[in-house]
Amino acid sequence: MLAASWGSGIMNPACSARLGNMDSELDAAIKTSEMCSLCRCGCCKDECPMYAEMLEESISPKGRNVLFRALSQGLVCPDSRAVRIAYSCLLCKRDEISCSAGLKNAQATEAFRQYLVDHGIPMLPGHDVLVKSLENYRNPWQESKAARKRWAKEFQDRRVVPGKTKTLFYVGCTYALDRSLQESPRALARAMELFGEDFGMLLEQETCCGSTAKRMGHKRLFEKLREENEKSLREARVKTIVTACSGCFKTLKQDYPELDKEVQILHSTEYLASRIKDHRQELAPVKMKVTYHDPCHLGRYMKIYEAPREILRSIPGLKLVEMSSSRELSRCCGGGGGVKTAYPEISLAIAKTRLKEAEATGADALITACPFCVQSLRAAAEATGSKMEVLSLEVLVWRSLSQGGGQRN
């Protein structure tokens, strides 16, 4: 009979990357990995979009936890296979809904990535470009700072006046710089004007919230970006910050420990839901059947499920139908966690699966509230020749407003 060739869990002498100094996030990740290793039930695989696509035990929260535990014990090395496993996660948190132990797997995965980055493990192709761009241009998309105001030609007078302007529209890198998405910030800004909102923007002086850096494990870079961004946000001295990007929203609210206490931070869906209440008569009918995709950062992370639906229900003529998975059980679009950059084909396949779910509802349009979700789902629609229109909620709201109150304005 053959014996196991790897012996009995003796530390590999060639691997010297035992965990060194730990911060609280790494510490928490190690505890998560310990608890998960004791259990190994694997329920996290159920409905995990990455697992479903790759069908490998390692490509699941359980797989990552078991790996991180072995790594923290020095049993395996942080080799390229480990990097692949660490970064094959959308950080969508769907698994956490199923785990009765409440393990914080997404947080543990971020810490795992941070550990790899801190140990100088080579980055995945594509991720290095994002990081360099963040370092040089303060956005992940290799665009100049000036490019941030390109979409806002009609709003040049909307520069925030510190201490005077009440509301800051924080656009975020992706909405500001992806030309195919710029209808969204425009729609929101126009709606804010229609509502008579006293709002301003930082335009080219806006800096990245750091979400991309944080999700990819570049904590030091994130801290640097957070400091800069927090400073400019504080200096604006506004009462409220509104953002349409679910990633920025989650980051500002959850990863900036103090900001939320000092200033009200609203996602555009919360903002629009509250304003539309007073402007119902200005909403013109939109005869459409739509379905709504919950962005992970807005839904599972921030638990905002009702506001976007409230908006959709308030548009006359619009019919909202739900997909087979929605709200906290919603399936990820494939655009999160750096997967789209490192593994574009897998990301696209996941987006196609989500699109299929939307198509099965018979809806004319798929509405969502995050630039990454719009990008991913649109790419899937284009790749499959789907008739499904993929729109951000802001654009849809403006369609209705511009036919109603906006037209009169």
């Binding site: 053959l2 014996a3 196991a4 190994r40 329920c43 069908l55 390692s58 078991v66 535990r69 009765s100």
Partner: protein
């Protein structure tokens, strides 16, 4: 030690035949295959490693792997969802894990003949979702429903809480395709539920724990989705009061889908009146009129046995807890284990009294609060519970003795050691409490006939032969 040169040869061969993407060999990739959910001594999580893992997608690919292994007598471990409790998937002799998770296709659905043919790596949940599109159901629901695969469930003789009406997976298998230890493909017979021709070959592989071959396709009996469903649930003073209602129900002719009686720690959160710490429920399915009548019948039983009827909403919430609580159940700092013994109903009280007051108590093994007494109501007589494994090396020894003591108790009362988690490593060495040496010898003969070189999941389930036995 495995010959490294040979291992490299086999790896190259399999990579060539299956493709690189389907062969895992780097240590990092082998980690999830070091164990299942089996309780092992602390610090032994990564004690056993497989040499290779393969991820075949077809029967032909499984065949290629088995042939390569057979040639060099390399151990093979067929794997499903990986959620086994008893160590079936621990690679104690290294070897090649045949991970079937990519064999997850539905091959055929027959609406007129009410069966589904699937590859083994599809999960029970995925089968149900797929069948729902045809208005059909497999009706297999176990705690691990979201993870457990058809192949794993058959190999473990898994449980279903819908057994009273629909049986367990053991009752569902109509036909199997199995790659045997020499690489030949066995088709156990036509896709029919009843036949009086020949040995019942499919039965051989039910609960065989991968020791006789690799299941590569299964045809399972299905039913049309019911017109109506209901759950009737009553709160009782304690488990024993709930059990009385359960026993009374089992003595009537009402056809329930399944049911449970158990203790409830946080009853208030589930709508239980203060002081009511016992629960008894039954699930009902059928035509609308049938279910209405059954609901009325069950409500009467619950009223007559002193139960307080739960609202429909609370009943459904508690009913839904079943598969939810299984997920993450072992991710807690205190190490616990569970049992699924089968006990004659007349001995249930005696069993639990002796178990907790004597067998477990004298080893310092304490029950997990709220999971001391648990009965699956129906003909399978499953009595379960959970207990903490005492800490330290000594604690581990005491736990082992307690586990054996429990097996002695269950079998001495005419029951079985494991109602749905299989034998694996956990119960292997005292299986002779349940089976005579003659019975075990028959098992050994079957094993030898089908796997003469003992390469199929070696060291699992069947205990070593006692030396003085002739």
């Amino acid at each position: 030690m495995i010959d490294r040169v040979l291992l490299e040869q086999i790896r190259a061969h399999l990579s060539n035949v299956l493709g690189e993407r389907k062969v895992l060999w780097e240590k990092t990739d082998l980690l999830p295959y070091t164990k299942d959910t089996f309780r092992n001594p602390r610090g032994e999580d990564f004690r056993y490693w497989p040499d290779l893992v393969v991820l075949p997608e077809t029967t032909a690919e499984v065949q290629a792997v088995v042939r390569a292994a057979a040639k060099h007598k390399i151990p093979l471990l067929p794997k499903g969802g990986g959620s086994n409790r008893t160590g079936m998937l621990v690679p104690i002799h290294g070897g090649i894990v045949i991970d079937t998770i990519r064999m997850n296709r539905v091959v055929e659905v027959s609406v007129p003949d009410l069966y589904v043919t699937v590859q083994p790596g599809i999960t029970l949940k995925e089968v149900e979702n797929h069948l729902a599109g045809y208005g059909l159901a497999l009706n297999q629901e176990q705690g691990s429903f979201k993870v457990a695969t058809v192949g794993g469930s058959i190999s473990t003789a898994g449980f279903s809480r819908k057994h009273q009406k629909y049986g367990t997976i053991s009752d569902r298998v109509m036909s199997l395709e199995v790659v045997l230890a020499d690489g030949s493909v066995l088709r156990t017979g036509p896709k029919v539920l009843y036949t009086s021709t020949g040995y019942r070959l499919p039965q051989l592989f039910i609960g065989a724990e991968g020791t006789l071959g690799v299941i590569t396709e299964a045809t399972l009996r299905v039913e049309p989705l019911p017109e109506a469903k209901a759950v009737v649930l009553g709160f009782y003073d304690d488990f024993w009061a709930a059990n009385e209602a359960a026993q009374r129900t089992m003595a009537t002719s009402v056809t329930f889908v399944g049911g449970e009686a158990y203790e409830l720690l946080d009853g208030g959160a589930w709508g239980a009146p203060p002081g009511k710490n016992g629960v008894f429920y039954v699930a009902l399915e059928g035509t609308k009129g049938e279910v209405e009548a059954q609901v009325a019948f069950m409500r009467k039983i619950i009223n007559e046995t002193g139960g307080v009827l739960a609202s429909e909403e609370d009943a459904l919430r508690l009913f839904g807890k079943y598969t939810e609580q299984w997920c993450g159940a072992r991710a807690r700092p205190e190490i616990d284990n569970c049992f699924t013994t089968v006990v004659p109903m007349e001995k249930l009280k005696e069993y639990y009294d002796r178990l907790w007051n004597d067998v477990m108590a004298k080893r310092g093994v304490l029950h997990v609060p709220g999971v001391k007494l648990w009965l699956d109501v129906g003909r399978y007589r499953l009595a379960g519970g959970r207990y903490f494994i005492p800490q330290g090396e000594e604690g581990w020894t005491e736990y082992q003795k307690a586990a054996r003591g429990q097996a002695e108790l269950a079998t001495s009362l005419g029951g079985s050691i494991s109602g749905c988690h299989g034998v694996g490593l956990e119960h292997r060495d005292y299986l002779d409490l349940e089976y005579s040496e003659v019975a075990l010898d028959v098992m050994r003969s079957i094993k030898k006939a089908l796997d003469p070189d003992n390469i199929m999941n070696p060291g699992k389930m069947i205990p070593a032969r006692k030396r003085n036995h002739h």
